[in-house]
Every structure is written in C-alpha cells, then in structure tokens.
C-alpha cells in the first residue's frame, strides 16, 4: 500500500501536521522526545496573529524502540505509537518500517532525537522527502565535523575554544599523552557516549579499558577545564546562520550528572559561541552546545550533541519554541531568527507514576503499534 499523495493545493501546514518523534525513553536519563512533543503541543515559536502559526493541532506519532518507553504512556502527548527497529539493525530495516508506518498513518515530518539513529535518518532523508516526509537534519559531513573525534580539529580550524583533546586507540598512546604536554585530570570519553574522569595516567588507563569495552574505539581524552557548565540548545538554518539559541545553567544534577533542573541565562557570549559553531559548520537542525566557563570567563566548547537535548521544552517557555521552529523549517516554512530570551525561565523535572492499562502494552507488544482516537483522554 503506497502512501497517500499530497497535492500542492492540499499542502499541510505545520500546525496540522502529523509529526513522528523518537526518543520516548523518559527515564532518569531521559531521551529528548517527550520534551520535543511538549514543545510542539505548547504552541508557536513566537506570538503572532498569523493563523498558520497558531498552536499545534496536528497528530503526534511516537516512534519507540521498546514497548516500555515511558513516553508511550503519556496519553495527553502521543496519539499513535509504532515500534521501530534498533539502529543496529541497519538502514534497510528502518526504511521498510517507516514506509509501513507511513502507509498506515501518513507522516508529514519526522524529528529524530537520538544520536545513534541520526546516521540512518540522514541517509534516508532524501527518500523520505520524496514521499512527503520532511526532516530538518544536518548532512553526514556536518555530523562528522562535530564528532568527539574531530571536535578538536574543528576548534583549531575555526578558532573555536575547544579544550585540548586527543583521540587514542591504544594504552601506549594514552601513556604518552602526559609527555606530550597534556595535563591531568582528563575526561576519557567514548566516541559516541560515556565519559569517565581520570586524575592521572593510571586512572586513565583503567577508564580507557572500560570505555573501549562498552563503546569501542577510538577513545577521546580531553583535558578537564575547571569551571561552571553551561549548555545551549540551538538550531542552525543550514546556511551558516543561527535560527535561535537558548542557554541554560544546570541548577540540580542527578547522580549521573544529568541536569534535573536548570535556569535560562542570557550571556551574549554564549549566543555568540553558538553563532560561531553554526557559521563554522553550516549546521542544519537542532543541536546542544555543551561548554564550561573557565576561570578567565571564557566559554570553552566541550561537546556538540547533534540533536535536541532532553531539556529543550524550556525553550518554549523562554520565548523561542525551537522544536516548533524545526517543524516549520522542515516543512519549508520560513522562520525569522528568534532572539527573544526570557532569562530566569526555569525547568524543574518531576518524576511521577503514569496510569496505563495492560491492553496498551498488549497492543504495542503484539502488533507493534498503538492508536488512540482523537477523543480519547485529551
């Protein structure tokens, strides 16, 4: 069964779109999906009289990897849910599943939110676009440019303040770092995820083995920069410009070091750093800029995550609804640069029990999909 064609005359506006979102794993280390969906449902990126920018009235389709991802059971957020194959199953499996889903529930846009799935969605983006499914993603080369392995080169080539970092593949290379001028403590990072702090080369060797066992080679060793951590959720227009950026300082951390509460700040230097990254990479789509303010007051760029952070809902409260902006950009609508920023806007997470019925789990686990009628619950 082929997806329903959409004629130019019947072009769907972002506010009425059917949008698929991944990353519904809202645990104590949450995926970004629930935050993205809440922002979409919250409304337009900025106040306007233009009806096209009125609050979201479309349909949200959750794409989940596991039937127990908590966001699935947020009945007020997600209308339909489909299980999708894990990224390890390859692009072909994802393509086939997305086409099945599109046949059952025609999609207008997909907002992927997880690092591991991005390469596949980027590869599929032209095919999806041809079938009327819009995305707003960076290209493969852009994704690679900000990778942990190449971030140091990016900093050097574009005068971005990245702390001293090296990519290592053997313990011998690691042991030479101190002689080569790297100072401890350092962070030993997996190429895609995970980081351990090491105070000396012996601790670094232990961390190296643990990171390799879990995440593979290479391992990135980055000098620690003492200071306060700041994060920026930002969207690039793909032409070197900044669509919008909301900086945040974490005010409460979990035992995993993840932000459980934070407050929006408006230091122009943080916005300028995001602008420089966009200009250097011509980034297209959302990202999270992680940085630390050193003792001299300089922001040093620690990492770029190539997708929305879990805390992106605060952008809607701070005057820049960045997920809504990405949806509009994906669907070809213009978005003027967003510069309003309400400093002092806070997010404070809460953990509570959702009530669900076993029939939801049965339906999803048995059929791989779950549908809620528009009247149900909302």
């Amino acid at each position: 069964m082929s997806p329903l064609p959409r004629s130019a005359a019947a072009r769907v506006l972002p506010r009425n779109a059917t949008v698929a979102v991944t990353g519904l794993n809202a645990t104590d280390n949450p995926g970004p999906g629930v935050g993205v969906i809440r922002a979409l449902r919250h409304g337009a990126p900025f106040p306007t009289d233009d009806d096209r920018l009125a609050p979201f009235a479309g349909r949200i389709v959750g794409l989940a990897y596991d039937a127990l991802e908590p966001g699935i059971y947020a009945r007020d957020l997600v209308d339909d849910v489909f299980l999708v194959p894990y990224p390890s199953q390859g692009v072909d499996a994802l393509r086939a599943r997305l086409l099945e889903i599109h046949a059952a529930t025609p999609l207008d846009a997909i907002i992927p939110t997880l690092d591991a799935e991005l390469p596949a969605f980027i590869e599929l983006a032209p095919e999806l676009q041809a079938r009327g499914i819009h995305t707003f993603l960076p290209g493969k080369e852009q994704l690679e440019l900000r990778s942990k392995v190449r971030l140091s080169d990016l900093g050097r080539d574009h005068d971005l303040p990245v702390p001293e970092s090296r990519s290592v593949s053997t313990v011998e290379e690691l042991q030479r770092l101190e002689q080569d001028g790297m100072s401890f403590p350092v962070w030993v990072k997996g190429a895609f995820y995970g980081a351990e702090r090491a105070r000396d080369v012996h601790e670094a060797a232990g961390a190296f083995h643990r990171v390799v066992a879990r995440w593979g080679l290479p391992v990135i060793v980055q000098e620690e920069v003492p200071g306060e951590e700041y994060d920026v959720v930002a969207v690039g227009d793909g032409r070197g410009g900044l669509v919008g950026a909301v900086p945040m300082k974490k005010t409460l951390l979990t035992d995993k070091g993840k932000g459980w509460a934070g407050v929006v700040v408006r230091d122009p230097a943080l916005i300028a750093l995001a602008e420089r990254f966009m200009a250097a990479t011509r980034w297209r789509g959302p990202c999270e800029v992680e940085c630390v303010r050193d003792k001299d007051g300089t922001y040093r760029l620690l990492e770029i995550n190539p997708r929305f952070p879990a805390w992106c809902f605060v952008s809607a409260g701070a005057g820049q609804n960045l997920p809504a902006a990405v949806l509009r950009l994906a669907m070809g609508e213009p978005v003027a640069p967003l510069r309003e920023l309400v400093a002092g806007t806070m997010f404070v997470r809460i953990s509570f029990d959702q009530l669900a019925h076993i029939s939801d789990l049965q339906e999803l686990a048995g059929l791989g999909e779950l549908h809620r009628s528009p009247e149900e619950d909302r």
């Binding site: 945040m248 005010t251 407050v263 700040v265 408006r266 303010r293 400093a343 002092g344």
Partner: protein, 98 residues
C-alpha cells in the same frame, strides 16, 4: 581608611546591576551567569544605589541615613567588603578603585 571612588560605576556595570532580578526579600538572580545569592537590606540598598548611578564614596552616608548604624559599626569598611563580594560575583569590574 579605605578609599572609595567618588565616580559612579561605569555605565556597563550600572546596567549589569540594574539587570539583576532582585526580589523584595533580597534574593538575587543574575540573568547573565545564572548565579543566585541573597543580600540583606543593607546590601540591597547598596546594589540599588550603585545601579542608580550613586558613587561608592556616597554609600557610607546613605547607610548612616537609612539604617541604624551605631557602636563599633564601620560603614566604610562594610561597603568595601561588600563591593569585594560583588566583584567576586563578577558583577563589578575586577580592577580599578571603587
């Protein structure tokens, strides 16, 4: 005796203090850094006076007029100490006499 400048703060420093979200109870939020701190009524009065463009050397007199200063209290010393705290919070320029 500590030296306090008879010049108002530079305009950028006044703007920075004016941008502080300072509640009636003295809870302050710096929108640039995200730092929060609390000040007592004396500290609040100093911040508000500096933000209005009063010079640091006028602050001891202001404190004597508005608060019950007596005994061993030394408003000049208190103002110098408090300006040091504001400098530590990067709300005042790091160098120069204030």
């Amino acid at each position: 005796m500590a030296f306090l400048s008879n010049e108002p703060l530079p305009q950028a420093a006044q703007d920075r203090l004016r941008d502080l979200a300072l509640s009636e109870s003295g809870f302050a939020f710096d929108p640039f850094s995200g730092t929060t701190f609390s000040v007592n009524p004396t500290g609040k009065a100093i911040i508000e006076a500096l933000a209005r463009g009063l010079s640091p050397d006028s602050l001891p007199t202001l404190l004597r007029e508005r608060f019950d200063v007596h005994g061993l209290s030394d408003p000049e010393r208190d103002v110098v100490d408090f300006l040091g705290e504001l400098r530590r919070l990067e709300l005042l320029p790091a160098r120069g006499e204030l």
